[in-house]
């Protein structure tokens, strides 16, 4: 069944690509069918525990779902379907639609493949397919290809090769490529390898989950990919890193005596990722970039949760994985819709879309509130659990760091909403209409999902519970998750439902109060009609405050902003290129030199003859 | 200072023989040129003689002679010389070359002159209104603009203010000054 699903994706990708050459409509239909039919089969036909074996080159590839991967694959498939529906109108009239569909399908397939892989070889194969299919997406629009694309691919390759190295070492020492075997027999490795392998694997997964020094590809890659794909990129693809990290953390690191230290280091890295990425997000003027940095920051939270590894922290991380996929998917869709309707995503160019794209605004608003972690939406639940877990685990300074990141997150949250939807309505954007229905429905659905999960988190707790039991956490007995009640281990509770009702009641009451109080005396005036020194803004005058939006704050964090990790990498890359150029000049193009090389080589070998051959 | 000014005059005369100069005490130097020669003279002064700064463009309405006068006030920061470049424009067809590509700030002065005196600067690119908004009368700084008549036409007077006196004739009588008839019409 799994093989069939994956083959359907693969075949569908090719058929879609060919069909799109035939006619765009055929391509659209085939694309939807390619995503939805296997996805439907996945939801209906696949059970946890089913195992498939394949053979290649004397290796056995084992495929099967675990409860942990089931959780992640639900994200992949769900987000895949919604984004596929969204992508069809999004890509209408654009270039390279066929390539987009092809890579999109391949990405979904490879992510599912990673999740069903029970051995490292197929894990790696799908990992690489995921890498290059997403790479082709990143460079699809042809903007800044050499810099962004190569950066992404180099970092991905570093990660992938680290994983490759780790897996061949494990295979040579343990004689098996099976995930389960390598984890169970981890103690049989030599001491050096016991340290080396988790570090290599953490590098591999850290690259994909944009961990701090390895994150530099992420903002550019996220913002460069088509927006219909970035939701999947940020929402699901980066979660593959988290998936791997969970596997490594609960199996390998736990068996290490230095495990606690590594956990702490990773947690701190995660914390710094969250904080630094948030600060960078604040300085961005492009919605895509802002969301991309924000994604990096949110991954930092998840990494913290995974690294701390207490049941509550892991629960928080898993919850945030799901929720992040939802709100970030929705937000990237929002940006995509805006890009589609207006042609730009720069804050300084667009304003006042709220009345033109109300549904987009509503989903953006809900998603942003979830992103900011404000109750009663889903983001709060995960953040609450994360803080509790950290405090109980005595990571006090880390809590402060995350609080700082979270609070600073409000700045970019507001910047995002204000940048697109608020401010003055410009005649330039008077023609803008709401996005097509097929684009609106997925994002509204995802946004509403945040609402539901914020109030009834128990809906998602069941699969998370199964996943965590699989990951080796004892069934925490539902103590952590009751009926919409959050418990700490100290016995404190947050009851979500009455709060939600209170919030709703008060909100509705005051909204109605404001609406009905003196309705006759209150009327709408356009945003051009504001009290600015009595001067009437000209048609072309845009009084909205957009440029240098967060400048006071940026000035406050100026010492930080001077240090860009990207710069160091660029310097390193330039240095390497210079070194390469120097090396290249060994081949002078001069025949005599080559002859001299040959003679010198002969002399050298004769000189070291004894050392070589005894 | 004297030598510097003489040298300057010599230099200017060498290039623009038709320019008329008039010397004052101190660091002031006056120069009168044709309106056609204004841009080239100013450009030369700026580029070759160090008059890098345009302080102001002053304007006078010589209604008796039927001419407007523009005075470009330049300043040489190196030689510390103030140079007044005068030029006269016919009142009937007041058009002169725009010089805001030589000094960017001239744009502002020229906009003011355009509104207040009605001189057209060819090629002046500027937003429509500067000081006067919605003005549809003759430019107000022209001497043939009758302010009181305009005020009476446009605004209302609170009753009791009609006894505004023409004090100028009283003063002139007292001082024995002679005011020509046409001038009486334009001033009170």
């Amino acid at each position: 069944m799994l093989t069939l699903i994956l083959l359907l994706f693969l075949g569908g990708a090719i058929v879609t690509w060919l069909g799109n050459k035939l006619s765009p409509v055929v391509g659209d239909l085939l694309f939807l069918a390619t995503i939805i039919i296997p996805a439907g089969m996945f939801f209906t036909g696949v059970t946890v525990g089913e195992v498939t074996h394949l053979h290649a080159l004397g290796l056995t590839l084992t495929w099967g779902l675990t409860p942990l991967s089931y959780l992640f694959s639900m994200i992949v498939v769900g987000l895949g379907i919604l984004l596929a529906i969204y992508a069809v109108p999004f890509m209408k009239g654009k270039q390279k639609t066929g390539a987009f569909y092809f890579n999109f399908t391949l990405s979904v397939m490879s992510m599912l493949g990673i999740l069903v892989s029970k051995d490292w070889v197929s894990f790696f194969i799908f990992w690489e397919i995921m890498t290059w299919s997403s790479y082709l997406m990143v460079v699809l629009n042809g903007k800044d290809v050499q810099r962004v694309g190569i950066k992404y691919f180099v970092f991905s390759a570093i990660g992938a090769y680290a994983m490759l190295m780790a897996m061949v070492i494990m295979n040579s020492q343990l004689g098996s490529f099976l995930l389960a075997d390598t984890f169970n027999n981890f103690q049989h490795l030599t001491t050096g390898n016991q340290i080396l392998i988790p570090i290599l694997l953490l590098v591999a997964f850290g690259v994909k989950s944009a961990m701090m020094p390895l994150h530099v590809w992420a903002p550019d890659a996220y913002s460069n990919a088509p927006m219909a794909y970035t939701g999947l990129f940020s929402g699901a693809l980066s979660k593959m890193g988290i998936y791997g990290m969970v596997l490594v953390m609960v199996t390998m690191i736990n068996q290490l005596p230095e495990g606690t230290l590594i956990r702490d280091i990773i947690a701190w890295i995660g914390g710094f990722t969250a904080a630094a990425a948030t600060l960078w997000a604040i300085t961005q003027d492009d919605g895509k970039k802002l969301l991309a940095w924000s994604s990096v920051g949110q991954m930092g939270y998840i990494i913290v949760g995974v690294a701390i590894g207490t049941p509550l922290a892991m629960l928080a991380a898993m919850f945030l994985v799901v929720v992040h996929a939802m709100f970030k998917g929705s937000l990237f869709m929002v940006v995509g819709a805006i890009e589609k309707q207006t042609g730009t995503t720069n804050f300084t160019e667009i304003n006042g879309l709220i009345r033109k794209m109300p549904w987009t605004f509503i989903s953006a608003l809900i998603s942003v509130i979830a992103l900011a972690g404000i109750p009663p939406l889903a983001g709060f639940v995960s953040k609450w659990m994360l803080y509790e877990a950290l405090i109980q685990n005595n990571n006090y300074i880390l809590v402060i760091l995350l609080f700082f990141a979270s609070t600073a997150g409000f700045l970019y949250c507001y910047k995002f909403l204000h940048g697109y939807f608020l401010g003055q309505e410009e005649p330039e954007w008077a023609h803008v209409k709401e996005a097509p229905v097929a684009m609106v429905i997925p994002m509204v659905l995802l946004a509403l999902g945040n609402f539901v999960l914020g109030t009834f988190p128990q809906l998602i707790f069941k699969p998370i519970d199964a996943a965590m039991q699989f990951a080796g956490y004892d069934a925490t007995g539902g103590r952590l998750w009751g009926e919409s009640v959050l418990f700490t281990e100290w016995g404190d509770v947050v009851t979500l439902q009455p709060i939600l009702y209170a919030v709703l009641a008060v909100f509705v009451f005051f909204a109605l109060f404001l609406w009905f109080k003196g309705t006759k005396g209150t009327r709408y005036v356009s945003t051009k009609d504001i009290s600015t020194s009595g001067e009437l803004p000209k048609e072309w005058e845009n009084l909205t405050f957009k440029v240098n939006f967060m400048q006071p704050f940026e000035r406050a964090i100026e010492p930080f902003l001077k240090r860009q990790i990207d710069k160091y990498y660029t310097a390193f890359g330039n240095g390497m290129e210079a070194l390469f150029e120097f090396t290249r000049r060994i081949h002078t193009g001069n025949g005599q030199t080559y002859a001299i090389y040959a003679i010198l080589f002969l002399a050298l070998l004769l000189l070291f003859r004894v050392n070589l051959f005894g | 200072m004297k030598e510097i000014k003489d040298k300057m005059i010599a230099q200017i005369k060498a290039v623009f023989p038709e320019a008329v100069n008039k010397d004052y005490d101190g660091n002031r130097l006056d120069l009168t040129v044709n309106k056609e020669a204004v841009p080239s003279v100013l450009l030369y002064l700026k580029d070759s003689m160090g008059f890098r700064h345009l302080s102001h463009i002053a304007y006078v309405d010589w209604i008796e002679q039927g001419e407007f006068e523009l005075v470009y006030i330049l300043w040489s920061p190196l030689d510390k010389v103030k140079l007044y470049v005068h030029t006269r424009i016919n009142r009937e067809n007041p058009v002169i070359e725009n010089i805001d590509m030589i000094w960017r700030q001239a744009n502002t002065y020229e906009r003011e002159i355009r509104e207040m005196l009605g001189i057209e600067f060819t090629g002046l690119v500027a937003p429509d209104e500067f000081i006067l908004e919605d003005w549809d009368d003759i430019p107000p700084f022209r001497k043939d603009f009758d302010t009181l008549e305009y005020v009476n036409r446009t605004f209302w007077h609170r009753p009791g203010r009609e006894d505004a006196q023409d004090v100028r004739s009283t003063i002139s009588e007292r001082s024995g000054e002679e005011i020509p008839d046409f001038a009486k019409k334009y001033s009170r």
Binding site: G521, R523, V525, S526, K528, D529, S531, S533, G534, E535, L536 | I131, L132, E133, D134, D136, P140, F145, T147, L148, Y150, V151, T154, F155, W156, H157, R158, G160, R161, A164
Partner: protein, 183 residues
């Protein structure tokens, strides 16, 4: 009950009392009169004890103090600011410039009679009025409000055509371009 005449009157009385004791002032600081507002509001004369308080924007303000001559250019802004204020709203004219043009009575760009363009509730005489006079004028305004006679805003709305005619006379293009009245 709300429509009952007596209770309506009672409510209005209370409202008028509150309005008279909570006057948020938007000082339109033209001319020389703006300097008189500072002593009026600060320690020496302390208008706040009477309920006066500075307002930052027209949307929040109750009364507009016009503290000197108004040129044609500024009168447009004043009209706009006045229209942006929310009813009930009042206008206080400072000094002779607003009353009859003062020393600028014959300037081609200065209006003479403010009440042709805006409904002025109280004029304060003087050139310029001292803070005592200003306080007296403001007290007069309070008294008018309490009596329910400070209905400049309604007057303006009722006679909008006349006011707009006058305004158009000095600023024809502007009135055509301006957005419709917002209160």
């Amino acid at each position: 009950m709300y429509n009952d005449k007596n209770s309506k009157k009672i409510v209005e009385t209370i409202q008028n009392w509150a309005r008279s004791h909570s006057i948020w002032v938007l000082a339109y600081g033209t001319g020389c009169g703006a300097i008189e507002i500072s002593p009026t509001m600060t320690s020496r004369y302390d208008a706040e004890r009477l309920g006066f308080r500075g307002a930052a924007t027209p949307r929040q303000a109750d009364v507009m103090l016009i503290t000197g001559y108004l040129t044609v250019k500024t009168v447009k802004r004043v009209v706009r600011v006045y229209e942006q204020m929310q009813s009930p709203k009042y206008v206080v004219g400072f000094g002779s410039c607003t009353i009859n043009g003062g020393m600028y009575y014959d300037s081609y760009n200065t209006i003479n009679l403010l009440d042709r363009y805006l409904p002025v509730d109280v004029y304060i005489n003087g050139c310029m009025p001292r803070p005592e006079a200003v306080l007296a004028g403001l007290s007069k305004l309070q008294q008018i409000i309490r009596e329910g006679n400070a209905n400049g805003a309604e007057k303006y709305l009722e006679n909008l055509a006349w006011y707009k005619e006058n305004q158009r006379k000095i600023a024809p293009n502007w009135i055509a371009k301006a957005p419709d009245l917002n209160w």
